[in-house]
């Protein structure tokens, strides 16, 4: 179930930004939400938060993006922020092989803490630093296909593919919701004669205190 709160937007989707420290998560976020980039931005402590409203197939979608600290120490804390997230942008740095190798660990992290239907986009950031490249685009593409993730190389500095990465994730989420809504209508039509009340059990898949915004929970 997606959130329909007021006339400002039709849907509210929660997205998390994850990946190793220093890969450029905060700059991806500031590029997307404020069209800003800073070479000497500060490190993220805990979690930072921003929103952006955009149009997806004639619907107004508000993306609520949570930027998390990359260091290992913060994972225990930040895992709580995954709750209710319907999309994730998993970022690595194309000039640092280690950050690509760690993508696997981040996927495990998502599997452990996020909704199993979460839509994941892997982003190889800093694509402008071609002379320092340590991970080929092909390697990224192959890995993404193997893991069933969307993939793009991005450059927050040059504003390349950042908007597209978020658009892709949000559109995919929107399609999943639409499909679910259709399926639900279908199910409603097929369940008994009209007029007869049908009990719908609304099950909140997450535990108490969690978000109700998850569109992918069953």
């Amino acid at each position: 179930m997606a959130h329909r709160v007021d006339h400002e937007y039709d849907y509210l989707f929660k997205i998390v930004l994850i990946g190793d420290s220093g890969v450029g998560k905060s700059n991806i976020l500031s590029r997307f939400t404020r069209n800003e980039f800073s070479l000497d931005s500060k490190s993220t402590i805990g979690v930072e938060f921003a929103t952006k409203t955009l149009q997806i197939e004639a619907k107004t979608v508000k993306a609520q993006i949570w930027d998390t600290a990359g260091q290992e120490r913060y994972r225990a804390i930040t895992s709580a922020y995954y709750r209710g997230a319907v999309g994730a942008l998993l970022v690595y740095d194309i000039t640092k092989k280690q950050t690509f190798d760690n993508v696997q660990r981040w996927l495990r992290e998502l599997r452990d803490h996020a909704d199993s239907n979460i839509v994941i986009m892997m982003a190889g950031n800093k694509s402008d630093l071609t002379h320092l490249r340590a991970v080929s685009e092909n390697d990224g593409q192959e890995f993404a296909e193997k893991e069933g993730l969307s993939f793009l190389e991005t450059s927050a500095l040059e504003s390349h593919n950042v908007e597209k990465a978020f658009q892709t994730v949000l559109t995919e989420i929107y399609h999943i919701i639409n499909k679910k809504a259709l399926a639900a209508q279908e199910a409603a039509r097929n369940s008994g004669p009209p007029g007869q009340g049908t009990t719908i059990h609304v099950v909140d898949s997450s535990d108490a205190g969690s978000s109700k915004s998850s569109c992918c929970s069953s």
Binding site: G22, S38, S43, G46, E48, F49, A76, G209, S211, K212
Partner: protein, 429 residues
């Protein structure tokens, strides 16, 4: 509309505490030249004496006499007039040097002081600390090649000595074949070196991102480079001496203000000791707040989660209406504005990101000298910050409130400290 609740004390609803109406100006953090907010509400009436022991600087004799202007200082400079930057630095140096040990071990009081109360002895103390620090640098900042060279040299001497003592008996025990860069042995210095490399990279990355708006810390100037090197060494030595917590992102923000005040000591000699001085004070400060950085303690009674829970309870006790709005009403509509979304950063790096450096020194000064101890004082200050923007919070939803709290508006620090001071002691039930 602000409802008068039984549990909300009268003073809480005073219009004095309301922050400026929301505006969309970017927050000009680190505009360190001015402490005075441009269009703040009228200053509050002088509050009852603050926690900061007024006797402390007096006890110490006045380091302020070093200052060019010898104006008598007001009892509570942060309330009656905004302190000048230089005064603030002096005050803060005194607080840090003298009180860190005191608050860390109140029962021992000044006996354990990092610095003796008599500040004529400080020069001597600084020299002692400098020697200790140099020894640490010598021992801990060697690269593996140097370590192995030293080990080989000492092994060779020992073998020679043994050979001389027991002619004919060859001792093999001292000969190590594991000390090379490709060694798989866990005890190999090279292996340890590579394991540490990740942390060292992290420290490097963060040190370079410390206060990017201040030339003192960032940029290509020789001063910035030297200062970055000093911060780097301090953090590496701390990491090596504290293998259980190592380096955690955010520590760089805690060490920076200490280094800034010591490096800017008007006494040039003291300034040359800044790195050693900072290291020991940082270690003391972390002694008090280290549990916040420790992942293993996150969910224990001393970990950061429980601190955030305490903040929530403190707010509930003093301003139930606001607490209810943030943690109950907003939750019904969408999501609870839980302290973990905003106070994690406030608490773990002692508010360093929420205000500019000068304002932070002002806050830290109170934090470290309050008789209730820095932990309790920090939570009271955090709670005061919430109360200060209560009207905007009460009008806001989840998203608006989170944005407000993650980008705390320009504020008169005196107001925050004044409210924080009011929050101590018995509460109205």
């Amino acid at each position: 509309m602000v409802m008068k609740k039984k549990s909300v004390p009268e003073w809480l609803n005073s219009p004095l505490w309301y922050s400026k109406p929301p505006d969309d100006r970017p927050i000009s953090h680190y505009n360190t030249k001015t402490l005075r907010p441009d269009s703040s509400p009228p200053p509050p009436p002088p509050p009852p004496p603050l926690s900061k022991s007024p006797s402390l600087p007096a006890l110490l004799g006045s380091e302020r006499s070093d200052l060019p202007s010898g104006e008598p200082s007001p009892c509570h400079p942060w309330l009656e007039e905004e302190p000048r930057d230089s005064e603030l630095l002096v005050d803060f140096r005194i607080t840090v040097r003298v009180t860190l040990h005191v608050v860390a071990a109140p029962s021992e009081q000044l006996l354990l002081g990092y610095f003796p109360l008599d500040h004529t002895l400080w020069a001597l103390e600084l020299e002692k600390k400098m020697k200790q620090y140099n020894k640490l640098k010598d021992d801990l900042l060697l690269n593996p090649s140097e370590i192995t060279r030293r080990m080989e040299a000492s092994a060779a001497t020992k073998t020679e000595e043994l050979a001389n003592e027991n002619i004919g008996l060859l001792s093999r025990s001292e000969i190590k074949h594991e000390e090379h860069p490709l060694s798989l042995s866990k005890t190999s210095v090279w292996n340890q070196y590579f394991q540490e490399a990740e942390i060292l990279e992290q420290i490097d990355r963060d040190v370079k991102r410390t206060h990017p708006e201040m030339e003192f810390f960032c940029g290509d100037s020789p001063i910035a480079k030297t200062n970055q090197e000093a911060l780097r060494r301090i953090l590496i030595i701390f990491t090596k001496l504290n293998p259980s917590i190592k380096y955690v992102q955010g520590m760089h923000e805690v060490v920076a203000p200490l280094f800034y005040v010591f490096r800017n000591d008007l006494d040039g000699t003291n300034a040359t000791f800044a790195e050693a001085d900072t290291f020991f004070c940082f270690a003391e400060l972390l002694n008090i707040f280290r549990d916040n950085f420790c992942k293993q303690l996150d969910y224990s009674v001393v970990g950061i989660q429980s601190k955030m829970e305490k903040l929530s309870q403190l707010l509930k006790r003093h301003d139930e209406e606001l607490w209810r709005h943030l943690e109950v009403i907003t939750k019904v509509i969408y999501l609870q504005v839980s302290p973990q979304f905003y106070a994690f950063r406030w608490i773990s790096i002692l508010l360093m990101r929420e205000f500019n450096l000068t304002e932070c020194l002002h806050i830290w000064d109170v934090l470290l000298s309050d008789p209730e101890g820095p932990q309790e004082t920090l939570l009271r200050i955090c709670c005061a910050m919430l109360i200060l923007v209560r009207r905007r919070l009460l009008a806001g939803d989840f998203i608006a409130n989170l944005k407000l709290l993650q980008n705390f508006p320009n504020t008169n620090i005196s107001h925050i400290l004044h409210i924080a001071n009011k929050l101590r002691g018995p509460t109205v039930d």
